[in-house]
Amino acid sequence: MSYGILSFGAYVPSLRLDRKAVFEAVGWATPNLKGLASGERSVANWDEDAITMAVESGLDCLADTGFAVPHICMASTTFPFSDRSNSGLVADALNLQRSIATEDFGGSRRAGTSALSRALSNNESTLMIASDCREAQPGSVQEMNYGHGSACVLLGEGKPVAEFLSSSSEHEDLIDQYRANGIEYDYSLEERWVREEGWLKIAPDAMQGAASKAGIELSEIDHFVVHGNGGAVAALSKKLGIERSRFADDLKATCGDTGAAHPFLMLSNVLSNAGAGETVMLVGFGQGVDALLIKTTDHLTTGRQGRGAERFIARRRATSNYTFYLSLRQRLSLDFGLRAERDNRTALSAFYRKRRDINAMIGGRCSNCDALQYPKSIICVSCGTSDSQVEESLSGLTGRVKSFTEDWLAYTPSPPYIYGNVEFDGGANVMLEFTDFEPGSLRTGDEIRLAFRVKDRDEKRKFHRYFWKPAPLTRL
């Protein structure tokens, strides 16, 4: 048993927006975007946000670890809630133990790397999730560059896939971009200035600092995880005299920049493909720099290889429909008719009574007849025994579609509204709303998994409620 990174996970939403399509739509007004109009970016579905993506990467990370997580941290610049524990909801959805410490880190794109640096320096046992779902103004550079995603690492005592060597941080109030409170979009400054004054002057100090603490030369490090825009990586490679191949793919062509999540997302790919005994420098940037140095172990090659973000990047649904993207992300207000006026007020006291049933999809398995039912009830649906049900989460179960419809009458931000009966492998049957299925693609008998998603948005009170939805089962 030793301390380190025990596991890592990633998640990238399946939807991809073709950047050429963006340029075709807005290029009449912003011809300067032409140079960015290649590749594709990831786009969260209408029911995804930083919380739901955090749950996805958390599930990916914790799969098969059996680790009792005592502490969860979530880093983001796009927390759905400013005052409601975001990490707490993620912990609930992951069905983690109730005696758990929860922490939200925000305020900077390097919120995640800073928190990771502290946790690793103090041998903290924690699930460290970074997740970001930044919106961008239509026609902006950010709309082209950004992507949505989440990734995480699990820290603790066990069989680490990587061990911590050192870290170093620098703070400089270089405002390459900022987003004031209550404002939707980032305000960005000229990339050349950021590269010259930021990446080339601040980053090398922190990187050198971490290397020195570990007693190695920067040139000896095997992998660099650096996610700067505007040629930052190329410039840094040249300045430090380190060949470009040692810098990890920044996923620009396939996913886009996922903000606070991006260092973690890139790291997952590096770890996924690294061998044992290799050193990795993780760099976080934003009003300063965090540089962390880790070294992979033999345990990496016996378990987590091939478990990086590349699996999610390969699983994609492409769209060239710019207005579809805009509407999904609420950048364009289409007329969905009077049915969209539905009042989605949540009775929060009722939610509190049923919070575990909802957040972790806890059903009940009858101790008398073994029937699994959702929701759980006092009296068993199959044998009629009272108070016989033992709590059991359905969220990790797979199942098969028994019946379904594509409903063009019901309101959903992404018509048609698809829902149906699912029979789970644990033996339960539940009627559920589906997500991520293309119209016309679903068949009875199809296999599904469950995804934690926004169920409804209360536009009047700005509350989002979450629940589990069947999504396509892709064996990653």
Partner: protein, 400 residues
């Protein structure tokens, strides 16, 4: 030992408004219209009515809660009025209340009124119904067509039938109901459609197209009932009596167990079995002369034919396409146009079905009159196939 309701209660008067988009009428006008017809038909005076039941589903959209809307609209002399609501079985529930009151000897004459004013929502289709505070957190915001469309996908999966055959049988059902509605002056939709139109209509909830869905209508219906003894005293000849009234709500079997395959209506089967027993029916195909079933969607009617034992399981497509339930078929279904074309003002629908059978048994159904029917069945399905309330009633000519 309870003996059931068979031949204890007589229906002595009925009324039904024209169903449709009654833009110039509110629930008050609709209730008064149905009541006046029923009162005239019964020959009793309004002061002889001792108790009343009001069936109304979407109170938010129309008349509000409680029995007050009926008591106020008809200016009833402070008699007990109970409002009942059991989704699409609401109208039948109102009738059941009145029938049971008379059978219990609590009063001599009771009345049931069902009403729904649906066309004040500002959009087509049914208003969304509330699900309560917990179900709202997890159940899909299903519409009625979306919920019933799943009968089709599950039926197809179970019986391995061809999707085109299924769609054609569904179209046949709608074409038949449109043909029947054409002959009914009170029907909402009075025009013939072709099988091709039905099959190629815009999709509402796959595989249900526009013509697979029933009308959303305003309307009211009313029944006045008394005991068989009292009806005899009143000198009523060719009495129409209640043979059975059964209700079966879901208990979670469909939704929460893996034992239901989604291709049939469990509660309808249960309610039908109880109703046949109560009415003394052993061979429904031979003994029933007509049915008015809950054809909210074409596929519902198709599946219900099996659930009521009017054709064998898996045989509905063939039976429908063979014309077994057409106007001139073995057991005509929806001779008045059904929910599909007569229309579906929810609180009134169960009573509207009883109204058609009441007319047919008396030979008063005009152009659409069947040849000497003596017994008919009504069926409602409130809610969705996976969680619902089914009612099955049998009405017939009185027999001693």
């Amino acid at each position: 030992m309870a003996s059931g309701i068979r031949d204890k209660v007589a229906i002595i008067g009925m009324g039904c408004t024209r169903f449709g988009e009654r833009w110039d009428c509110g629930p008050e006008e609709l209730m008064v219209e149905a009541f006046n017809e029923a009162l005239t038909d019964s020959g009793v005076s309004r002061d002889q009515i001792e108790m009343a039941w009001l069936g109304l589903f979407f109170q938010e959209q129309s008349a509000g809660k409680s029995g007050l809307p009926l008591s106020m609209a008809l200016r009833l002399p402070n008699i007990p009025v109970t409002r009942v609501e059991n989704m699409c079985a609401t109208g039948t529930e109102a009738l059941r209340g009145a029938v049971y009151a008379v059978a219990a000897g609590a009063c001599d004459i009771a009345m049931a009124v069902g009403v729904e004013k649906l066309k004040d929502t500002g959009y087509p289709g049914l208003p969304e119904r509330s699900k309560g505070t917990f179900d709202d957190l997890w159940l899909p915001n299903a519409t009625a067509p979306g919920a019933f469309a799943q009968l089709a996908s599950a039926y197809q999966a179970k019986h391995g039938c061809d999707s085109i055959d299924l769609k054609r049988a569904m179209a046949h059902i709608s074409v038949k109901s449109h043909d029947n509605g054409l002959l009914n002056p009170k029907a909402h939709l009075r025009r013939a459609i072709t099988e091709e139109q039905a099959m190629n209509a815009p999709m509402i909830a796959a595989p249900l197209g526009l013509y697979d869905c029933c009308g959303v209508s305003d309307g009211a219906a009313c029944a006045i009932v008394t005991s068989v003894e009292k009806a005899k005293e009143m000198g009523i000849k060719d009495m129409i009596t209640v043979k059975a009234m059964q209700l079966a709500p879901s208990n979670g079997f469909e939704m929460s167990t893996t034992d239901w395959d989604g291709s049939y209506l469990q509660t309808t089967r249960i309610a039908a079995a109880r109703a046949y027993k109560e009415a003394g029916i052993t061979d429904p195909i031979k003994q029933l002369d007509m049915t008015e079933v809950h054809d909210c969607f074409s596929v519902t009617e198709l599946v219900v034919m099996e659930d009521l034992g009017l054709c064998e399981e898996g045989g509905a497509i063939k039976a429908v396409l063979d014309g077994k339930f057409d106007k001139d078929g073995e057991v005509p279904c929806q001779i008045d146009g059904g929910l599909k074309c007569f229309g579906h003002p929810i609180g009134a629908s169960g009573l509207r079905m009883a109204y058609e059978i009441y007319l047919q048994l008396q030979g008063k159904a005009g152009e659409r009159q069947l040849d000497n029917p003596s017994m008919g069945l009504t069926h409602n399905l409130g809610g969705h196939p996976f969680r619902n309330v089914a009612s099955v009633s049998v009405l017939g000519l009185h027999s001693e």
